[in-house]
């Protein structure tokens, strides 16, 4: 296999196909519609299922149904569409069926706009449906990573029988860059828990209902144990130039990529900055960040996001109170330029770990503690 020039949304779709996605259900919404369109022609060619649903509510429940039959199933949407899916997400986790969802995030709240945003961090990481759980959330920063994480998403969904999100934004969805697609995998056999017709084996029932309090608590404890296992085994992040860094920018997805450019530029000036980029937003690389903070070398963290500071709170929890955590963000579909992050970082360095008032009170800065 060799690299080819690929558009983000198409690359994700094709990666899903090659990972053995057997059924795709979705509803058009900008900026992810090309993903759906790619599926509409690809899936048929391969003898698989494509269905344009009547809404996102329908799409997620069709995924629920197909996944219950043991098919690798997925849907994709963008922020308001994901909000609509909440009920289905919770039932999928409660029934322990695997499902993959791609969220190409747009600006909110409400209709917002179709520009790139990271405003779905909380929605995906903290509140993807009612009940006590987190879905696995994978956040690629470039198209190659989007491809690789989409494949991984299907594998993780299967291993843990849970919900896995791949979270991108309009920048990643619409941009083109060279990347390599994985080889086509054979469809995996239907798992033994799936609804494939009883025959001689005991009956399988897919359900999330536990009428007795004891049974529900027992299920929830099992679910928590599973989540703890995921948290222990599946953390992924990128550590860039952290070995000797005194200032660390923490950013995910597209902003992580932009921040990397900022770090490179400052390094050229001999400034000891580094990048910590969470790839799994859940499980969050809490321990790794915490160890970094405890190294005694870090003078300050700068969290940058395309939102008002959602991951910021997780970074603060991980870092604790000994090292200052500052924030620089843009919202409403405004993508920060590397120079902006560079300036914020440089100011942080000049202020010896404190951000001067100008940044804190500027229209984009966000006061920290």
């Amino acid at each position: 296999m060799s690299k080819e020039l690929l558009k983000g949304n198409i690359a994700i779709a094709e990666a899903a196909v090659r990972a053995g996605c057997e059924a795709y259900f979705g509803y058009p919404i900008t900026p992810q519609t090309e993903l759906l369109e790619h599926m509409s022609s690809r899936m048929l060619e391969l003898g698989r299922v494509f269905l344009q649903s009547e809404s996102e509510v329908a799409a997620i429940n069709m995924v629920y149904g197909a996944a219950s039959a043991g098919a690798r199933a997925m849907t994709s949407s963008s922020s308001p569409g994901i909000s609509l899916m909440q009920e289905g997400l919770s039932y999928i986790v409660g029934s322990e069926v695997p499902a993959v969802i791609v969220d190409v995030v747009r600006g909110g709240p409400g209709l917002g706009n179709i520009q790139p945003s990271q405003g779905d961090y909380n929605q995906l990481v903290k509140s993807a449906g009612h009940g006590d759980y987190h879905p696995i959330v994978l956040a690629p920063a470039n198209i190659q990573e989007a491809i690789d994480l989409t494949v991984l998403a299907f594998d993780l969904a299967d291993v843990y029988r849970t919900l896995v999100f791949v979270v991108a934004d309009g920048t990643l969805g619409q941009m083109m860059e060279p990347a390599e697609l994985p080889p086509m995998r054979a469809l995996r056999p239907r798992p033994e828990w799936a609804l494939t017709g009883k025959g001689e084996r005991p009956q399988n029932i897919i359900s999330s209902i536990y009428l007795s309090a004891d049974l529900l608590e027992a299920f929830n404890q099992k679910l928590q144990a599973k989540l703890a296992l995921i948290a222990q085994r599946e953390v992924r992040y990128e550590a860039y130039q952290l070995e000797d860094a005194e200032y660390v920018v923490v950013a995910f997805g597209t902003v992580g990529r932009i921040a990397k450019t900022a770090v490179q530029n400052l390094r050229r000036q001999g400034i000891a900055v580094g990048l910590f980029r969470p790839i799994t937003l859940w499980p969050f690389p809490e321990k790794q960040l915490s160890e970094l903070a405890d190294s005694g070398r870090i003078k300050a963290f700068l969290v940058t996001e395309m939102n008002a500071g959602q991951m910021l709170q997780d970074v603060r929890l991980a870092v604790g109170r000994d090292v200052p955590v500052h924030f620089y963000g843009r919202m409403g579909g405004v993508v920060p330029m590397p120079e902006e992050i560079e300036t914020a970082l440089a100011e942080l360095v000049n202020g010896n770990g404190r951000l001067p008032k100008t940044i804190l009170e500027g229209k984009n800065g966000h006061p920290t503690r």
């Binding site: 509803y27 919404i29 900008t30 344009q52 809404s55």
Partner: protein, 339 residues
Amino acid sequence: MSTNTIPLELTRKDFVSDQTVRWCPGCGDYAILAQMQKTLPELGIPREKIVFISGIGCSSRFPYYMNTYGIHSIHGRAPTLATGLAVTNPDLSIWVITGDGDGLSIGGNHLLHVMRRNVNLNIILFNNRVYGLTKGQYSPTSRKGFKTKSSPMGTIEQPINPVAIALASEATFVARSIDSHTQHLGEVLAAAAAHKGVSFVEVYQNCVIFNPDEWGPLEDRRERDDHMIYLEHGKPMVFGRNRDKGVRLNERFEPEVVQLGEQYTVDDLIVYDARSKALAMMISSMEHPYFPTPMGVIRQVSAPNYTEGLMAQIEAAQAQKGKGDLHKLYRAADLWEVK
């Protein structure tokens, strides 16, 4: 509460907003907007009593262009916002602007219920049989076999007939018109506004970018009269540019197109009755090219609207039990004392 308003002489211009209209050049939406702006001044309703509520889609940009109150709401949910508004402020003239995607796909459920409740409002559904805003995927009204970006081999789904849905949902006013026949459209919009209760109007709309050929001869000024039948209550179903064709009920109780002349005369034709649901149902099944497309008021009956029903119940409740007394309500439950 009510204040004396000085009746204003409003003109079309009063309903034109200061927003730049952003539809594709040639889009059928322009004609519908123009007709709406022309029709509203004739109704004598002050602008501040008019609200346009839309969901998401090309058609849903409508409220920006009307110099009235407006809500650009959630995809598919406009009927519910409109219901909330209608029951809390029955004074308003409410217009729900939706499309085949917004109204029949994601919002299909809400559309049924706002109609069956007979909420006093007007629903205008722009039907272009394609998703325009997301750039060309098939919709619930797309013809079977329609090739789009999401149906490269043609759709395999049976399309929905919006008029039949409205009838099945017991809408008390159901009509159809087309963007390019501006005079007809204006008349239908005025009739919808005049109706008390829910009015449902399907407007055939030309999406010149993603589905330009959908309405074919219906959009053609010279040919259209041969392909549409303008329903008129109490009148025989005659059509054609020479008014030489008609629709009769054949021996199998099905509509049949006949040539007027020696074999059949006007007396053999169905006399349209907009009060008859059975007739409306049958007429709604007449589809181009096998039949002329029925246009105009397909059904109109009078029935108490939702707000009237609600008010009547409130009056009845207060007559029976007096004005609300929370304390009494608490006491009305089965109570016992724990000692």
